[in-house]
Each structure stands twice: as structure tokens, then as C-alpha cells.
Amino acid sequence: MATTLEIINEVFSNLLNKPDLKLTLTDSPDSVTGWDSLTHPELISGIEEKLDIEFSFKELASIKDIAYLIELTNSKLNTLK
């Protein structure tokens, strides 16, 4: 079963058209080329659609790096269980 990091990596890789992308916990819009204000809505929607979850604006406002995004995604998935 894929980890949350692997799922997020797949979404980012597909939408940013970077087949070799290997995200790490400390990656952020500052370190990932293409992750910017223009692509951010698509990346978030991609994760939401892939995992059938939905983020609120307040939740999105805390995402400063991949670690936060994983934490938020996992908390959403846990509430579904």
C-alpha cells in the first residue's frame, strides 16, 4: 500500500510533469520548481480527488512544506476511518 508521501509525490509528479520527482518532508514551494501560486490549486485538487478528501481554506493556510501536507492529509484520512 502506497504511503501518503508516495501518493502526494505521484500527484505532484503528474501535474508538474516531472517523472523523476522525489519529494522529501522538507520540500516546499521554495525548493520544488513549478510548485507556485498558479499550480498550487491544481496540486491540492489532485490530492483531494485522488484520496476523496476535501481541505478547507484554514487547513490549506497551514501548508508550508510537504511534512505539513502529509500531516494534514493523514488527519483527513483518519477521520474517514
Binding site: 491544481e42 491540492i44 493556510a61 508550508k64
Partner: protein, 219 residues
């Protein structure tokens, strides 16, 4: 003539006036709200969405309630201006703005924005993390000529200086054709440090102009 003017931080009951301020600042000397053209929404839809985002209470971007100072005269709002520290919580204002708009607009509106973003970027300036960013000044006509703009700029600077003593630069981005605001900002101590002029004629539809200036002021 400023003895009856009170400058204070914005509170939730100011949201309607702040939305009006954002709309009027966007229109500048034209009649275009770039959010409406970029996201294909009406002015009413924009006002609704802006109000909802302000009500969320998220800091450090264009739609942050706590970034606004209000000027008040006789119990009535006489002006508003917003300013925040870019990237204060490790997230850019651009990312926060797009997160907010995607949360309150439809997917089609975001797709429409994406189709025009390249044009908008022709005249956009990156906001540098760690700098103060001013945005959306509005002083209703009845209160102009009473030094309210200077008072708001000073109050915002003082407020941020207390929170972030190391910050020493403030920026504002203005459409060049908005000569009234541009001249006012020169009076407030800002100087033009950069200018971008786009070539795409659609810029006139999106912004009522094709040149934007970046102004800087030491704190």
C-alpha cells in the same frame, strides 16, 4: 485637520468597508476589478468571496482582516489600508491568496484564471519574503485631503515594526495609470524602484492599463 480622526485595527464589523476598500483600490482610476476579469466572476460574486475570506481570519496576505487599519471619523469609516509581512509564517501571500480563492470559487473560475495568468504575470512583481507589503488603500471622497493616507501608512508601519523590529523595507505595487494613488504614495515616502510594461493588449481588459510600478519605502 486630523484631530477628529481615529486610527485603529480592523475588526469583523469592518469587513464590508474593507471589501469596499479592496474593490475601490482595484478599480483605481478605472472601472476594472482584476479579480473579476481574471476569475470570470461578477463584482457581486467578488464582494461575497472577499468578505468570506476576510471572515476566515488568516493572516499575512491581501485578504487578512488583521492586516488592515481603519481610519474613523465621527464613528464612520474614513479610510482603510492593509499591510503584512511577506512570508511571515513560512507561506507566501500568493499561495495563501490562491488557496483562499480556490476554496470559495468554482473550479471553472480557477481554470479561467490559469488561462490568463501568463498575461497577468507580464506585469507582476515577486513579493520578497521578509518585507512589508502594502495593499488596498481607500479613502472615501468626503474624507480626502485630511492626511488620512499618511496616518494609515504610519500606523501600519509602527504596528509591524513592533512585531518585526528587523524589517526595514516596505513595498507597494500600483498600476502606473493610477496617478492619484501614485502621487499619494510619493507623499507617503515611497519611491519607484521598478516598472513593468506588458505587451499583451488583454492587459487593458484585466487591469485598465499595461504598466505597473513597484514602490519602496525604508521603515
Amino acid at each position: 485637520m486630523s484631530e477628529d480622526i481615529l486610527i485603529r485595527k480592523a475588526i469583523k464589523t469592518d469587513i464590508d468597508f474593507i471589501v469596499e476598500s479592496i474593490v475601490q483600490a482595484e478599480k483605481g482610476m478605472g472601472n476594472t476589478i482584476s479579480y473579476c476579469t481574471l476569475f470570470d466572476i461578477t463584482e457581486k460574486e467578488f464582494r461575497d468571496v472577499a468578505g468570506k475570506i476576510l471572515d476566515e481570519g488568516i493572516s499575512n496576505f491581501e485578504f487578512s482582516l488583521d492586516s488592515f487599519m481603519i481610519a474613523e471619523s465621527g464613528g464612520k469609516p474614513a479610510g482603510a489600508y492593509g499591510a503584512w509581512l511577506e512570508g511571515a509564517d513560512g507561506i507566501s501571500s500568493g499561495l495563501l491568496k490562491m488557496s483562499a480563492l480556490r476554496s470559495f470559487l468554482k473550479k471553472d473560475n480557477i481554470i479561467h484564471y490559469k488561462s490568463l495568468a501568463g498575461i497577468a504575470n507580464e506585469i507582476s512583481f515577486n513579493r520578497q519574503a521578509g518585507t512589508m507589503q502594502y495593499e488596498s488603500i481607500y479613502i472615501p471622497e468626503a474624507f480626502r485631503g485630511r492626511n488620512i493616507g499618511s496616518m494609515l501608512v504610519e500606523a501600519l508601519s509602527n504596528n509591524l515594526r513592533i512585531q518585526y523590529p528587523r524589517v526595514d523595507e516596505a513595498f507597494v505595487q500600483l498600476m502606473k495609470h493610477n496617478t492619484v494613488s501614485l502621487q499619494a504614495h510619493v507623499k507617503y515616502g515611497f519611491k519607484i524602484v521598478d516598472q513593468k510594461t506588458g505587451t499583451n493588449t488583454l492587459l487593458f481588459k484585466v487591469y485598465s492599463g499595461n504598466s505597473r510600478v513597484l514602490m519602496k519605502k525604508p521603515l
